[in-house]
Structure formats: C-alpha cells, structure tokens
C-alpha cells in the first residue's frame, strides 16, 4: 500500500489543462494543416501530385490538398521543389462536410461547426459513443483509446466510449469499411436509437486511406452510414480528434478557450 501511494506521488497529476489553457505543444516535425502558396509553383510542375500515394494533391494552378484522402505522409512537401506546399503544426483539421476538407490557396482552417441547438441540448453535456473498427489498422483505434487515458480524460467533457450501441448516442467509425464489416457496421448503426451521430475518424473512414479503390473496401464510412463529423489524419493526433469532438458539441469557439459547457 505504501508503495502504491509512493508511485501515486511519483506519477503526479498528468491531465492536460487544455482546453482551459493552451493545447499541448506538438513536435516540430508534426504534420498538421497544409499551407499552400501556389504563387511559388513553376508552370506545369506536378511533382507533388506524382508522389502522392492517394491522389490527395491537385497540382497548380489549382493547388489543393484533400485532407480526407491525405495520409499526412509529407511525400508531397518533400518532393516540392519550391516550398509551395508545406505542412504546418495546426492540429485543427476536423470538418462537418466532406467538401470542407478540400484545402486550396491559403483559405486558412475551416473549423467544424457545432451541432444544431437541439442536438447540442441532447448531447452537449453527455455524449456516449460506440466505436466500430471496420478495417482500421489499429492506429486510429489506438488514438481514440488514448482519449480515455488520464492525460486526455474525455470523461470530463461528458464524452464516453460505451460497450453497446444500445447505450450510445452515436458511432465513431474507423477504417475504410471492409466488405466483411459492412453489414456489422450497418447493424451497429441501426441498433443506436435516434437521434444519433456518426464520427468518421481517420483517412480510411473518410475516403479509404491507403486502401482506396480496393474492391475489398468501401472507401469510407459514408458509403454505409451518414457522417456528421470527419476527422482527418493517418492516424489523427488525439488532439485533432478531441478538437473535432469539442467543436461538434459547441464547446470550442474559434480555437479560444472552451466554455464550461453549452449553457
């Protein structure tokens, strides 16, 4: 018992002060929101598009990155001879609409909008989610799990991953939706009582990720269920997932400190 207490003192208090304080600093080499400067593109250059494994990059003159398809591997930035395409450290990537994930010339970050008033009233203080991995590689699953650790402690926002769809207000879907999980995902969705929401976490669940176009997968969750929030990344950083969840619930406004709750 003494040793347990000693360990407790050694380990200390580790829960992030975020969102009351600034978010934790991410590593210098972290690849977050892309920053585009097509003025630097040479005529006809398509080095970025030629190396992209998923066709996420459209070359100049309409230089754009589809965050839904993007694996954030940085091959495009490494290939770019002029610095027109780089990845910044902004972790805020989540969007409510698939189209909002298309980043073009310095549009800045289009932050995910909150749910409507009725949904916020229902879910704002208590959001129970069932997670379904449908061909996920255990990267996104692991980063969703991390939100439950003492560091992130999403329970303080009333967010909890529950064991059954019957207990849930919605789903977190990861993976490209393998054909062999299509029915199970659909059944799990149907088992959640309405009104319900679906959150697609990771490039696979948005557009198929590195498996896009394989006949064995369905290129994302919205082939099977309607999606309310898209969280890009391969896998997304836990901070990116949390940012998306809190914005969906209207608990983060334009990156400023969170309100204590919707009321």
């Amino acid at each position: 018992m003494i040793r347990i207490l000693r360990a407790r003192i050694h380990q200390g208090h580790r829960t992030l002060a975020y969102p009351d304080a600034a978010p934790p600093e991410l590593p210098e080499r972290f690849r977050g929101h892309p920053e585009l400067d097509p003025q630097r593109c040479a005529d006809g250059c398509r080095e970025c598009a030629d190396v992209c494994p998923t066709g996420a990059v459209t070359p100049a003159p309409a230089l754009a990155v589809d965050l839904g398809k993007c694996l954030f591997c940085g091959e495009c930035a490494a290939a770019c001879p002029s610095g027109a395409l780089t990845y910044g450290r902004d972790h805020r990537l989540a969007a409510r609409r698939r189209g909002d994930l298309l980043v073009s010339e310095n549009e800045g970050v289009r932050l995910a909008a909150a749910l409507d008033a009725r949904s916020r009233r229902l879910f704002g203080r208590s959001l129970k989610l069932r997670q379904v991995s449908a061909g996920g590689c255990n990267g996104c699953e692991a980063e969703v799990n991390v939100l439950g650790t003492v560091v992130w402690d999403v329970a303080r926002f009333g967010i909890q991953i529950v064991a059954s769809p019957r207990h849930a207000d919605g789903l977190i879907v990861t993976g490209p939706v393998s054909e062999n999980m299509r029915l199970a995902l659909r059944k799990t969705y149907d088992a959640v009582a309405p009104p319900k929401i679906v959150i697609a976490v990771g490039g696979c669940a948005i557009a198929g990720g590195p498996f896009a176009g394989h006949p064995e997968v369905h290129d994302g969750a919205d082939a099977v269920v309607p999606v309310d929030l898209y969280v890009p990344g391969c896998p997304p950083h836990p901070l990116t997932i949390l940012d998306g969840l809190l914005r969906l619930l209207g608990r983060l406004e334009d990156g400023e400190r969170a309100a204590r709750g919707p009321y």
Partner: protein
Amino acid sequence: MNGLARLRCGESLARPEVPDLAWDELAHALLEAVARGLRVVAYFGAAEDAGTRLYLVLADDREGALAVAGTTVRGESFPSLAASCPQVHLFEREIAEQHGLRAEGHPWPKPVRFAPPLGAAADTAPEIPVVGVTDFYRVDGREVHEVGVGPVHAGVIEPGHFRFQCHGEEVFHLEISLGYQHRGVERALLGGPDRRTVHLMETAAGDTTIGHACAYCEVAEALAGSPAVPRGAALRGIALELERLANHVGDLGALSGDVAFLPTASYCGRIRGDFLNLTAEVCGSRFGRGLARPGGTAFDVDGAMARRLDERLERAAADCRSAIELLWESPSVMERFEGTGTVARAVAEALGLKGPAARASGLDRDARRDHPSGAFRAGSPPVALAASGDVYARAYVRWLEIGHSLDFVRARLAALPPGPTRGEAGGLAPDRLAVSLVEGWRGEICHVALTDGRGRFARYKVVDPSFHNWMALAVALRGQQISDFPLCNKSFNLSYCGHDL
C-alpha cells in the same frame, strides 16, 4: 537441408535457384527439418505459368540461415501436412483460400479471411462464403452452452468473432474466426512497388508500422542489392525498439486494467504515450509513419535531439519502474496472472509461436539475435525468457524486454554512425526471391518477395506474428473460466488486421 536452397536475411536468390521439388520431396524435407528444430516462417502459393507453385521458407535459428524450396501443384488440391506439423495448419488454409485449391486431409479446412482468391478478377470470382458463416466446432450435451462474441466488441478494438463452448463457467473450446479486417493488402502489392506500397506496409498492422515497414525495406534492399546506410539502419533499430516500448507498456497497463488494478493501468496508459511522442519527435508521427524507407530513413536525429530523447527516456524509465513494479508485489494482481491461460512449451513449439508469447513458454527465439539485420548486426538486446507460459509469464517477459529495449535505444542514440540517413534505393532485380525477418513487438514478422522479369512484385507474402499466435489464444482458453478471456486475450494482444491483411 538436402534439396533446399539456402540464403540469409538481407540476401536474395535467383528464382531458378529455388529447387522445384516433387511434392513428396518437399513434404519430406519439411517434416525432417521441423523435426530438427527448424521453423516454418512462410508457406504460400504464387500463380505461375505451370499453375500454382508453393513456396516453403524455413528458418534455421542456430545457423542464422533460411532454406527455401518450391513445388508445383498438379490439379485442384495438395496434400495437407497439418496433422503431423501443426505450424503449417493456417498456411495451408490460406493457400487453399488464396488459390482456389483444396488442402487434402486438412483436419480444419475452413476459410481464413472469407476473401476471394488472390488473382481472381471481381467479375469472375467464385462465390465467397459469407464472413463468419462457417462450420464451427460444437460441443453437444446437457449443460453445455455456446457463447458468441463479436465481430463488434465492447472495447475500442478491432473486429473478430469468438465462439466459446462452455460447461458452466468452464471453457471447453474456443474457436476464433477472423477475416473482418480484410482489405486486400497482398493483392494490391502485386505488380509493385509503387507509390502506395510503403503505405500499405505501414498500415498492414498499424500498431506495428515500424516493424512491417522495416521488413519491407529489408526485402526491397535485398532485391536492389543495396543495404540501408548505417545511420539509417541504426535509426530504424531505435524506432523498432521505441515501438516495442510503447506497446509493451500499453499492454501491461491494459493487463492491469483487466484485473482491476487501476494504478498501473492509469500510469501505463500515459507512459505509452510518452514513448509514442518520442517517435513523433523523430518523424512527426506517433506511429512512425513516414520514417522507414528503402535505403534507410526519411528523417535524421541530430546530436541535440539525441540528447533530448535520452533525457526523456531516462524519465520514462523511472516512470515505468514506479508503475510496473507494483504489479509483481500486489497479491491481487499475481493471483489473477499466475496459472491463467497457460500454453505449454511443447504446444508453443508445435504451433510455431512467435515473440513474447513464445518466449513466455520457454522458447528461446528472437529474430534480432538469430537472424540479425541492420542495427542488430552489431549486437542485439538480451533475449527475455520465462517458463510458465501463463499470463504472468507473458507480462513478465514484456517487462524484461522494456528494460532491455530502454538500454538498447539509449546506447544506440549515444553512438549513431555518421553519414546520411538514406542511401540510393535502386530498382529491384528481376526474377529473384528475398526474405526478411524482423522481430516486431508481437514477434517475428516475415516478408517474402518474388520479382518478375521486370523487377516487379510477382508475389509479396506478409506474415504477421499474429497469424501464428491466434491459435495459441484458443488453446490457452481451454479449461479456463470464460471470465478470464479478456485477460488472456490481452496477454497476447494480437493483431486482427495483421492477420486479415
């Protein structure tokens, strides 16, 4: 090894040099080699002009060598050896499924992934069985009942179906039916490498990004005839051990959670993240995406970063000791760990177990020592062993490996070889075969590549250690309480997608 061609990891072999044996000769060579202690690391088919050709790759751990042979299947079936050599049981089922063949006399001829044959075009594919619908083994009798779990589980984990035959609380038999995660990885690798190849490797089992990416790099480097530059190889070794540290710490935390010992569960959940963040410091991704590339690594660690990483490792080491040593001195934990989910050494050997699960049952095998490549040529961490084969042994082996990996990473960070991190990758030589064995955190990862006349992949075989170890979980459950399943499952912590590919 009469009649078999020899090579080592990191070398390649001209495909015409792979002996084309008659079936009887291959079967004899396999059984004789396994009797002498060699292991079957890969056994798979490839579509060739004369029909499906089976390739057998054996590992000779004492010699640090590999032995390869092939045989061409005549007709629609091939004889099964599973009854006399259990470690090929799943390989044979996989060959049957991927090539539309029958494994004649296989005691358990069921689908592996409920997937169409590898080469089948979508419109000509034969009817695939519906996932999860198969001939489950069933125990009948009064007071016997069946419990089905999955594919969607209660936790945030990947999907799979588990079916228990129980008498009261006691499990007579557990059958594990997978395939839900099948994404067509091996089919998509055919004709490569291309710009997607390395990403498919990094996500074959995403929690083993470094392990599978390193296995791919080593195969590609062997086929190109240009090994990784020393600094890149050293960084890959460091990243492989960081991946092991993160996952082992996470597993010990999860095991604590499953026996409701919350202090260690809470601390390890955080410390796991500290190790992931070190990998992110190096390459921007907590899972090591984008780091390992043929020729070396895409990122460097300079002196200042090496010192920062070392300081953080020292703190993490102290945190690990504080968190994990609590387990071994807490009777409530030890009571649940000891004697639960035992896999006897002989069973582990027969099934060809890999990694910590094998070492926990007393099998002294570790590809870092036995088939060293890259960073491990200059010395590998000590091999951690236990004897009891239970949950305790699987947990304790992880704890020993955490200590060894910490020492290894810190020593290598302090002595990084000079030079660039990435050499010229080079094109792949045509008509050759190469094999890599990488000791990932779950165990030995085996990749085998065959190139065609143009230097493209005619076949690429991925063998995740989970492919072998799932059967051990089923065996471990026999005679256990069904309530011990989560604990047993966690003590193996196997990959669903690494199995399903």
